[in-house]
């Protein structure tokens, strides 16, 4: 689990950029979306520091708005830099996953023959 989380940390930044690009959203909702997408072991403790890091890097900007629970929530949206970073992530991920899949497919076909 820990190894998987470590491996995912870089990928999660990209996933969060993608989720925020679709609509302005807040930390808890980002986490919910990741869990729904299958990252079942992800929790707010992993997502919240990433959101802060992305905000500090200038890829996200946040605005505080009232929430039904009392304290204000931070709603995030992509900055111009964030939009560029999201595009770069998509390209990097597509390329990386294509290479990894190639290797895995070759291995599977070798094992089958």
């Amino acid at each position: 689990m820990a190894k998987q989380t470590q491996m995912l940390k870089g990928v999660l930044e990209g996933c969060i950029l993608e989720i925020v690009s679709q609509e302005e959203t807040y930390g808890y909702a980002v986490c919910e979306q990741l869990i729904q997408a299958g990252f079942s072991h992800i929790n707010e403790g992993i997502v919240y520091p990433i959101l802060i890091r992305l905000e500090k890097k200038g890829w996200l900007q946040a605005e505080k708005r009232p929430s039904p629970y009392g304290p204000k929530r931070k709603y995030y949206q992509l900055t111009e830099m964030g939009k560029r970073e999201r595009m770069e992530f998509i390209l990097r991920w597509t390329e990386t996953s294509r290479r990894v899949n190639q290797i895995l497919e070759r291995r599977i076909s070798d094992e089958n023959t």
Partner: protein, 286 residues
């Protein structure tokens, strides 16, 4: 309800205030004996000021705890404990107060939402609170290490020097701030407290709040190191008759700030260290 952090803060404030009252009493008693029943006007003012400050500090700690309980009343006990554990790490970090408040507000919002969904706090930030707190501080560019420790301790030493010279000029009725010298042994003790005692108490306090009892013992060791520091000075006093270096050490007086510009440099340096720490923590994000 009382969390471990609240209990620790209240106990520390009472213990420290108790020590201050005791030391002030001893100081007044010793002064009366030494000066044959007469107290200097400066000594009386200092004693009253110190006792008032100790009383105010205890009041502030209790008042803050009360208003914090009011603010967090909607949080369940287990969530409150987790929030306090994280905030102990955040509170002792080099983050600005506005950032600390922001983190607390954000975590409260997240916790209330998770609590409303019937979840346990462990499912929100994981089992290891320390690891989450470190991740959080890392995201803000805070990387506690030897440099940060040295800078903070140096800031404390500078602060003490500025205050203690003022205290000594008042205590001895010296007209000018810039004429009040300090004993070398006092300087040694302040350096010892800044570089050894306080960091150990802080480290132990943080560990104890997150439930790491073994590391939590460092808080007690911290208090012990203070006694060790005093013991070293007393030891030097004991051997001063037989060892020339000891009597030379005890006899030395240092006038740290002879001129206003020296004081200005010390204050500027303390602020400079503050800005350096801020710059260092933003550096990795550039």
């Amino acid at each position: 309800m009382k969390t471990r952090r609240e209990k620790m803060k209240k106990s520390f404030s009472l213990v420290i205030a108790g020590i201050v009252v005791l030391l002030t009493g001893l100081f007044l008693w010793a002064s009366q004996i030494r000066d044959q029943g007469e107290l200097g006007s400066g000594q009386g003012v200092i004693a009253i000021a110190v006792l008032t400050l100790a009383g105010i500090s205890v009041f502030v700690v209790y008042w803050q705890a009360r208003s914090r309980n009011q603010k967090l009343k909607n949080l369940r006990e287990d969530y409150r404990e987790h929030l306090d554990q994280v905030m102990e790490w955040v509170g002792q970090s080099a983050l600005q107060n506005s950032e600390k408040r922001e983190i607390e507000q954000e975590l409260m919002a997240i916790f209330l939402e998770a609590q409303g969904a019937g979840r346990q706090p462990q499912s929100v930030i994981g089992e290891d609170v320390e690891s989450f707190a470190k991740d959080l501080l890392d995201a803000y560019g805070i990387h506690p290490g030897i440099l940060s420790y040295l800078l903070t301790s140096t800031q404390w030493v500078l602060m003490y020097l500025v205050i203690v010279q003022g205290y000594r000029s008042l205590r001895h009725g010296i007209g000018s701030y810039y004429a009040a010298s300090m004993d070398v042994e006092v300087l040694f003790l302040f350096a010892w407290i800044s570089f050894v005692t306080l960091p150990m108490i802080q480290y132990g306090g943080k560990a104890w709040v997150v439930g790491k009892r073994k590391q939590g013992l460092f808080a007690i060791f911290g208090f012990l190191t203070f006694l060790i520091g005093v013991g070293i000075i007393e030891g030097i006093h004991a051997v001063a008759d037989r060892m020339p270096w000891a009597s030379e050490f005890l006899g030395k007086q240092v006038l740290v700030f002879k001129h206003p510009w020296q004081l200005a440099i010390a204050i500027a340096l303390a602020f400079g260290i503050f800005w350096l720490k801020q710059w260092l923590r933003k550096k990795p994000l550039r």
